[in-house]
Symmetry: C2
Subunit: 804 residues, 2 copies
């Protein structure tokens, strides 16, 4: 490790350049304050009056001047070195700065022509900020050049890393606020450097922007000593550089000098790695600790209380400017301190010598196409799923591991798209465990730390990213997708809840992005949830939770899709379909254990395209009349138990007319008004009948099915069984018994719900109850399922039954 001294405070800026960059910064600061405060009089051409000030002052000043400072200096190095940089603005509510800078560089007005580069445009720019119908106070989809929402904190650095994977030319300058730095996801994100290949990937320049305070508190890192911070970031594997102070001129020199150093360093690391010689794949990447006052250049004090350099500068440093003339005076003095006449011409346009400081065209950070990834997105090349189909000659008798089959397909996607380097698989150390291991025939896990001779499937250039942090997996993938690439996140079902909140924010990002015509579609975020609730045999209760589906179902219908393929061929269709979609979040829940296979590939395609359908071959209804009962199912384990229940019923009550309905696309259950995949009421009634009992075996919490179907004609006769929070370490079949989703409970309920049948079939009910008791005794004694359970197969192939 090199022991790097604090940045040498040389003075790279000549007086003229120093003056220019300082004026540029002041222009950005001026525009930032204007956005927070002004309705009118944007250039302060007249004295500030009540009418010029917004009635509700909503915005955040604290972090903004620092963000503007960084932006101005990044512009300088982009211009000087022709760099390809995007700006990830981590600090919450840094919106005014991002908007101000993209306005100064011209991108804002190109995207939103109404916000023109003149006095009228500036008035509108100010007015729209944090104003009804306007724009949010943090970096958001509306912000040019952003792939990162500054609302919920913690994900700036993972987004930055995700953006530069497979983008060797790109640098993500990522500002991390010292508030955000306290979050768990951010604290783990620093270790992303162990997954960044300096030859193949771009670079991330983290800038820890310490202004010392959150809303009403100091921050942990803000009060740490430089000595501790130096240890911490060396410990994380970085080479820290410090830029600290409050005097603008001194700080400009320090920042410029430090940027020279760190961009030299990045260039050197990349150059060395790209020689092709075996070298250090885990170099000590530079990072910057920037200490500057919160609310820098704002009011020092208001009403005798410290504001600049304290948490009182967090939001609106001086409030009640309409009611309080002395506050209004503070505001006016503050804004005039930037000397707007020196910055903007009489038309309100940034002066020419300052305009020249911004990079040109796509080098402007607000116009960098990587931050509008749909512009760069190349369609994924996918093979034909039929090449991977499981042959199902006899349904319900062949065993296969669905995710293993999908793994073959994913392997070939990796091969077909290898030249484009635009597909990765993400997961918390579970790719092999989730049976996707055949991808390791053509790629490896990414790893930049030491690789030992006996390590398996570990390499510098792997395309599988595994880390024991769902946050990192999700965040990397988001960054990767938002910059125009493709990916899949495979995860244990229960633990995907760890990223509920990140899912929410990504869904919100997609919803807003879709409303912006200039944001081009990006690939969907695809989850493969396996090791699901019903097959946590050895992990038990803590690993049993199917509730992520419920979180997803709350989001807007145009954004989310939920698929529950019951076997391998349906999983193939689903995976293939999801990888071709864009601007969505697709959730696929599928088992990884050996399971019975039901549908041929042709049937699977037809079934999945409809999303839902009657399984004629499993039903024994007569076409002329409605069945006595509908046995419905969604999810692989519920499907098997339903079919076993149908078998029990058909054996014991042959005269009972049964229809089997299987659901792959959960959204088909909703009404057409609620979801584009929703079935029309008449189609729904055609499947589920208007009045017959429906015994519905569902993968997750049963309430969701009620919630999706409550408006349907026959809803009152829906009897849903699912996970009811009964779980432990036990056999898969016993799990279904504990939650009363097993074949016997399903069959008993069918008998009990068909009018008049219960009385006639008391003996059958007793038989099934006895079986449940026998099961209980057997399992407690032997720890295994009875043979008749574990060996059960669908018995009706080739007999007199209809086969499709």
């Amino acid at each position: 490790m090199e022991n790097q001294p604090a940045a040498t405070f040389t003075h790279p800026l000549a007086a003229a350049e120093l003056d220019l960059i300082d004026r540029y910064w002041r222009a950005a600061n001026y525009l930032s304050v204007g956005q927070i405060y002004l309705l009118d009089n944007p250039l302060l051409r007249e004295p500030l009056t009540v009418e010029h000030i917004k009635p509700r002052l909503l915005g955040h000043w604290g972090t903004t001047p620092g963000l503007n400072f960084i932006y101005a200096h990044l512009n300088r190095v982009i211009r000087n070195r022709d760099l390809n940089i995007i700006y990830i603005c981590g600090p919450g509510h840094g919106g005014p700065g991002m908007v101000a800078n993209t306005y100064l560089e011209g991108t804002y007005s190109e995207i939103y022509p109404d916000i023109s580069t003149d006095t009228d445009g500036m008035r509108k720019l100010f007015r729209q900020f944090s104003f009804p119908g306007g724009i949010p106070s943090h970096a958001a989809p509306e912000t040019p050049g952003s792939i990162h929402e500054g609302g919920e904190l913690g994900y700036a650095l993972v987004h930055a890393y995700g953006a530069v994977f497979d983008n060797p030319d790109l640098i993500a300058a990522c500002v991390v606020g010292d508030g955000e730095a306290e979050t768990g996801p951010l604290a783990a994100s620093w270790h992303s450097n162990k997954f960044l290949n300096p030859a193949r990937d771009g670079a991330v320049l983290p800038i820890l922007h310490l202004n010392g305070y959150k809303i009403a508190n100091p921050t942990i890192l803000g009060r740490d000593t430089d000595e501790d911070l130096r240890h911490l970031f060396i410990g994380y594997g970085y080479e820290p550089f410090f830029v600290e102070g409050s005097d603008p001129h001194q700080m400009h020199q320090a920042m410029a000098a430090t940027f020279e150093q760190v961009f030299d360093r990045i260039r050197a690391i990349q150059a060395e790695a790209r020689t092709g010689a075996p070298g250090n794949f885990c170099p000590r990447w530079p990072m910057i600790v920037l200490r500057s006052p919160k609310g820098w250049t704002g009011p020092k004090e208001v009403d005798g209380k410290k504001v600049e350099g304290f948490w009182r500068a967090h939001q609106v440093p001086v409030s009640n400017c309409r009611e309080n003339p002395s506050h209004r005076k503070i505001l006016e003095d503050w804004m005039r301190s930037y000397n707007p006449e020196d910055l903007f011409d009489t038309d309100g346009r940034l002066k020419e010598e300052l305009r020249a400081l911004a990079p040109a065209g796509e080098r402007r950070m607000g116009a960098n196409p990587h931050a509008n990834g749909g512009l760069l997105r190349r369609e994924l090349v996918v093979p034909d799923i039929r090449d991977y189909a499981v042959a199902v000659s006899e349904r319900g008798r062949t065993m296969a591991q669905s995710t293993e089959i999908l793994g073959h397909y994913l392997r070939d996607i990796l091969t077909l798209n290898a030249d484009h380097a635009n597909f990765r698989i993400f997961g918390p150390d579970e790719t092999e465990s989730n049976r996707l291991g055949s991808v390791f025939e053509v790629t490896n896990r990414v790893w930049m730390e030491e690789i030992k001779p006996y390590d398996v499937s570990l390499a510098r250039d792997g395309r599988v990213m595994e880390v024991l942090s769902e946050h990192l997996c999700q965040g990397w993938l988001e960054g990767y997708l938002l910059t125009g690439r493709h990916g899949l996140f495979s995860c244990y079902e229960a633990f995907i809840h760890i990223v509920d909140s990140m899912f929410n924010q990504h869904a919100k990002w997609l919803k807003v992005s879709r409303e912006l015509p200039w944001r081009k579609p990006v690939s969907s975020l695809n989850y493969l949830l396996t090791s699901h609730v019903w097959r946590q045999d050895h992990n038990g209760f803590s690993h049993q939770d199917p509730g992520f589906i419920d979180v997803v179902a709350n989001k807007r219908a145009d954004t989310v899709r939920i698929y529950l393929p019951p076997d391998a061929n349906t999983l193939l269709w689903t995976g293939d379909h999801c990888l071709k979609t864009y601007d969505r979040i697709n959730v696929i829940v599928a088992g990884k254990q050996p399971e019975l296979q039901w549908l041929s590939m042709d049937e699977a395609v037809k079934h999945c395209e409809a999303g839902i359908g009657i399984w004629d071959w499993a039903s024994n209804e007569q076409s002329a009349v409605e069945p006595d009962v509908v046995m419905a199912c969604a999810g692989d384990v519920p499907t098997m138990e339903t079919l076993a229940a149908v078998d029990l019923l058909r054996q014991n009550i042959p005269e009972l007319s049964i229809r089997v309905v299987n659901v792959v696309d959960l959204m088909a259950l909703q009404s057409k008004q609620q979801h584009p995949h929703g079935l029309a009421d008449e189609v729904f009634d055609g499947l589920f009948t208007p009045d017959r009992p429906v015994i519905f075996a569902y993968h997750g919490y049963p309430y969701l099915i009620h919630r999706l179907t409550y408006r349907r004609t026959n809803h009152r006769n829906f009897h849903v069984r699912g996970f009811i929070e009964e779980g432990t370490t036990t056999t898969p079949f016993d799990m279904t018994v504990l939650n009363e989703l097993d074949r016997y409970h399903l069959a008993i309920e069918a008998i009990e719900r068909v009018p008049g049948l219960k009385e006639k079939a008391q003996d059958v009910i007793k038989l099934f109850r006895d079986k449940l008791e026998e099961h209980g005794r057997y399992i407690r004694q032997y720890g295994e399922d009875m043979r008749e359970i574990s060996n059960w197969k669908w018995p009706y192939n080739g007999g007199g039954d209809r086969l499709s």
Copy 2:
């Protein structure tokens, strides 16, 4: 900073003691392997045969020998120094080790007498592990001495810190696996040392147990150099000690020597802090990096593949021991390598000289009462809520900030319980922002780093814990509650999703704990969710998400409660009620902004005790007949909009008979079979009528109300409005308009749903639609609500209307 060298490898153990401690460790290892593999022949008194081996081998060996090693050495220091230590076992699936050790020390058999300390007990001990109806493979509620579930990773260290706050005598030895160390929550948890007061609190001894691998991968920290790790932990503020190797004797000496050093160090830090002299409140607490092989002492190789010291040792190092005789031989040799005859007497009891190595009574880590916090729990002293009541002389005309009122009550709880030091408030920097600021009249925020002269409400001994990490808040509180104390977590509603998964795991812990008679009840985990979806005026869409309620509602009825108090007095009742409950998770959603007040304290008590009720004073129905329409509401903003809608309807259609129903306790909507708070059907029908339209204005996603009420008689006539993912930066009223929950939409729907009324009241509908348009124009122009909206008050006080 002191530059601590690696632990000096002195040799504190004399030969006899070394032999004893090694035998003790071997006994724990033997019992661990036995649990994973054996059904019978527990002491290997006969050759191992197929029948002795479990049919399904489910368990995790990899981390276990290291955990056992630490346990044995902790026993030694507890005995030598009479220490009060609990063991937090972070590594997933370390269950066999925790069970083995608590069995060896005798606590297991005291709690579960059937698992006796003899051959028969050992057979049962082995059999129950990862066996249907048995115990899980990780530390869990069933494990004596545990307050930490080892299933979902990331929370060991926060639990440890939570446990020792206000427990000056307690030390939490916390083992962090190197897999877990990759998670975000864990990475942030290291900074908890900045919130631990060495004078007032106990100590945490983190032991980072690096065995280098996860399921199928190396780990980041496992492959880090010692040099980087030293920097990292110094950077986090610790003094790292290294214990590394694989030779048992050398490692025993090293561990014993290091423990001597670190416990000396802890004692010295505490002694210095407790002199009362102003000193260093942020000392460099010791932590240990223990590098030992994964699967230490297990098979070195199986089938020619590396196992010990590699990820293949993670789970079952040698499988198929029934089918494969050579594997069975490996297993038998492995188990015999511990020399069981040297460890257990002929009755299967641990030999006497080894039994003497465990501490006695409550000093045994499996019997430490802090790990069964209900034993130590002291009732919280609470004041009379009536002392804080808002006087509501005219309902719907007084304004108050509900959470501010609750703040007064909380302030006095802090005072009343100050001597017991058993109540803390947790939150991500939002106590003041959430208007609970009056607690700072009697306490402060906890802070151990530098305190500057101008800092506000910051102190070494504060009882408010603020950090910008919901994970840390939640984890600290869980640790605090599970060790027998009380607390409240106040959080922005949207961002509580960050801890969805932690909530899930805590709910699971409580569910299982309640089924164990020896686990005594602990205080409920209470959430106050404010800054909610409807009042994110300046934060916008990213801060708008009411979906946590849905996650909570999936959990078992005996564990969760959800309250939506509509005003200050109802919030007082709710807060008071929740703080008195135990073994539950209570969610309270309440606004922090000035709002109209509806109920006197007497009325609030009555209303909240019922959980739901008709608001006679707002209704205009005639008692003899059913109303034309029921206007129902849950949540503060929906309640106000509903009452404003009622006002609009009463003004414009005086003959319309309206009933107003308000819901505080959401669980009252469910049926009695589903939830203990559920209303009987006849009571429900009495409130909501069997057949009249119900216009339900609900705080969150509308589907939840359907899901809770789908079995009710009148469900088909429920028309629920709530948050439908339409949000932005705008006024609070405009938010309701965007989501069609505002007074006008509610009133129009009421008119449209009452049979025959729509035709007669076309002019009224038009009036309301015009108002909505006028609102839209006004807000876009002025950025404020029209006066008639923002100044609206309930107009019916003192007139001819009934007042209760």
